[in-house]
Symmetry: D2
Subunit: 292 residues, 4 copies
């Protein structure tokens, strides 16, 4: 502090957490010749009484983030027998038990999905795989290491339909509206979603598959008057198919496929030649919830 600066003000630590991010872990099940793989990127963050570390530089009883990494790999060996949602609970419970200053935390997962390489018999290869889109996600949060709030999700499911979509009847701002109405357009969206549970535990893998199936089935099953309406219908379908889920959140980008103006070149364009505009895009976010 040099002369002329204001006198030192009193400060305090607010909400905080720390941990390890981008821990890339693969677990291979080798119990039978037909191997199983789980390929995840993990972030673990701890919450608790970390005031002395911040304010005084006192690291007493702090779990090093390097220890967090080691623990993730160690517990993956001893546990992680099921879903990422369950593994997240194992991790948080462990850190709360181990660190006297740790009272809670969260674990976040991004899971890469792999498909067995094709074989003649249709069974898929026993130990060879090819990576797929989209990605599966999960987040487990706890304030005490005993009770957990679990969220699951899907990342970057890129869907498109070439017809049965429109955008009409909206506000015609006298100054700034230039977009013409249409009942025939291409609709494309990179869908990210996450959902919360109405139950304490369930078959998370099975729920994920059901959600994934509902999104793919609902996206094309209706004329879409707006991305918002399709979002809502997808949420409704998920809540119908999955009694385990209490509510679901979508972030859906509207990836604009603009009809390129070919009339200037003496060519007709019946929605056949489109500019896939990377930017900007409409972006819709909403929760769809059970009504009672």
């Amino acid at each position: 502090m040099t002369a002329g600066q204001p006198p030192r003000v009193k400060v305090k630590l607010g909400e905080n957490n720390y941990g390890k991010a981008e821990v890339n872990l693969m677990k291979i099940g080798r119990d039978t010749p037909r191997h199983e793989i789980r390929d995840v990127q993990v972030r673990v963050a701890m919450t608790g009484d970390f005031g002395a570390a911040h304010a005084q530089g006192d690291n007493t009883d702090l779990i090093a983030t390097d220890t967090v990494r080691n623990t993730i790999y160690g517990l993956a060996k001893e546990g992680f027998a099921g879903s990422i949602e369950e593994f997240g609970q194992e991790l948080i419970a462990h850190f709360v038990k181990t660190g006297s200053r740790v009272t809670g935390g969260f674990a976040e997962f991004t899971e890469h999905l792999w498909e067995r390489l094709p074989t003649g018999d249709g069974q898929g290869h026993a130990h060879a795989f090819v990576r797929q889109m989209p990605k599966r996600t999960a987040r487990v949060e706890s304030g005490d290491g005993k009770t957990f709030k679990v969220t699951s999700g899907i990342q970057e499911l890129y869907l498109l339909k070439t017809t049965q979509s429109g955008w009409e009847g909206y506000l015609l701002d006298e100054r700034f509206t230039t977009l013409p109405e249409t009942h025939e357009r291409v609709m494309a969206s990179s869908v990210t979603c996450k959902w919360e549970y109405a139950v304490d535990s369930c078959d998370y893998d099975d729920v994920w598959q059901r959600v994934f199936g509902q999104l793919q089935a609902t996206f094309p099953d209706h004329y879409s008057p707006s991305l918002q309406n399709t979002l809502y219908r997808m949420g409704e379908a998920v809540l119908n198919a999955c009694p385990e889920i209490s509510r679901i959140w979508f972030q859906m980008s509207n990836k604009h496929h603009l009809v390129y103006n070919l009339a200037r070149f003496g060519l007709e364009n019946r929605n056949e030649i489109l500019h896939v505009d990377p930017e900007p895009y409409g972006l819709m976010e909403a929760w769809v919830e059970r009504a009672e």
Copy 2:
């Protein structure tokens, strides 16, 4: 719905918003031969009464996201005379006024900073620029279009020091701790931060510069016993230098620079040869706030 599925459940719309993302806008001030530029990526999202659009596909009085884009460019011409923080307020106020269903919303900015190209006289070029790191950010949120919560920030300020950093005295977990203690290490962090204001309005550009200066001055001015402590000191310095700021949040990654084991090759390594490990990294998040 096919046979065998559960009866249709009742659903409702929860929290939601929509708008336009990744609107890339440059505004050039040409009033004098010494031009000024602002280069921003904008996201605007509106909140309000959008239930009919979601549930019934009724778009009545909805502002199209294409209109949002046009408006951003149009208002940038008429307004945007000052900071992104002020432009965000202009935008949200406009949409609340324009859309009968819009009650609020938020605007987010990522601003690319440019420096004048060097000239012999040290003044910098009048109309030629080179892009810089880090980036400036802002977020403006409002529930009514009249009162605003403003947050400002810095993104990807990558700092490093080659000494005056250590990590000691932490919990030695009997099983999972393998990291040796050290009082001499390289510390590197990609700093992202954001702050809230104690005042209704201020010179946002000037505050940003002061924060930027404090981060650069504080990062190296002490022996760092942990990234957490350095984070806290940076927050303290900012709150001292900027009475306009009520609290500041940091997300600081600990980019590990690992001393490469050269002893295996008969070579000594006095912290000179390091592996810059991209993954995993420690990740610290905390608010530093005024104590009273």
Copy 3:
């Protein structure tokens, strides 16, 4: 030029080209209710007599890159009835014909592949799709606009096998070799490849599918003593299955899946718990060619 600088040297233009990059184009076939889509990112570059433009700033007879863009969309409407390899030839031929200074050029394509959304009857949806990995690529080059060198490829085919791979018998450098030999490891690779043709034209779509099939069939069908050997076998399989192809080039990264050292924690690790190391990676590049 200021005083003290060396006298002006004579310079000339060397090899050069210009054009438009990242033109994102979708073409939808709507002739029947079962729609077809092609989703490509195109770069077109022209070569020719562009000396005056560079040296004197004389743009006479230069085709604007904006015209290149318009032309890509226009010709996509009139042509692009088949593969990207054929469309590339249409494009280059057009620019050579149109621009008096243009003598040749190249067109590069990255094609996003889409799969029909699943339907109950196994036929796939008539107009709704989900985006897939990997990507298809092509490059068409010509010096005269009449004869063409065509290259096709696959980008980012991420393959992994959990066993039947090793790395033994290599040079044990007395100083710098620390890696132990193994006959049991995980092998993973993000495969990029491209191939040249022995024929003037062929069914490019069909060839691509055969190559894709061969890569997936060959990758797991042997014990792999090295990524190089697997690369070679994949090349051999492709040349066997595709008489249309003269040679094929692979770039295969060796994505290291490191057995995490759990012995430190009293745990056995039989290749089950692995660190998926993002960096560094082995990188192999080779052409596999017909022997006579």
Copy 4:
């Protein structure tokens, strides 16, 4: 191979190389309290007699890519006293000497540049730094481990000028030209360049600084009739200022800043409000060479 497939054809190995990519290395000079840092990402690839490894899976005398990594760090300690261009030569020479099958190879560097944090005395901090743009690159190639072809470069130097640029007099294609001519536009380019040397060795750091200075000085010093002409002028300036350089290659993207059509909203737009279009972009590539 199953029945019905064509008989096995003879194949052979073509041009090939292998090595390690994305080796992230920092070297810190600690000889005085004023530390120096070099922060590089390295790729090393070896060429030579690798036929047996590919065709027979015989790894005899092959240098493991893990050994390549160890060697990069080890030699960085023993050597790397100067520029990346010289370090590349040390590396390739080493691998040719060490591997009986290795006859040559190449080393590629991407160097992150750091600036000292500001201090009151204008000297910059002794051991604290902030990362800068653009990046410095180099490539060293050799067929024998004794003679080297060195290329140096700059990556992602993002330049912009708000005036003194136009695009006129080009070909007006009767069908596909829609762009109006202009003598007043914004010109922006992300410049990547690389140069070859007329001398066997020189002060590579000093040359790099001179090139960097010339690019920044030349970009704004003229009215630009085209990006091609500015590219050529930048090349001419570099060849004038750097007798060590034989020729220089540029890849310059034309990042279009489109005047947003505000007339539709009753607003005049004198090149003030622009859409920074991310895609597509003009892309120019050219060598500028000494004329005799």
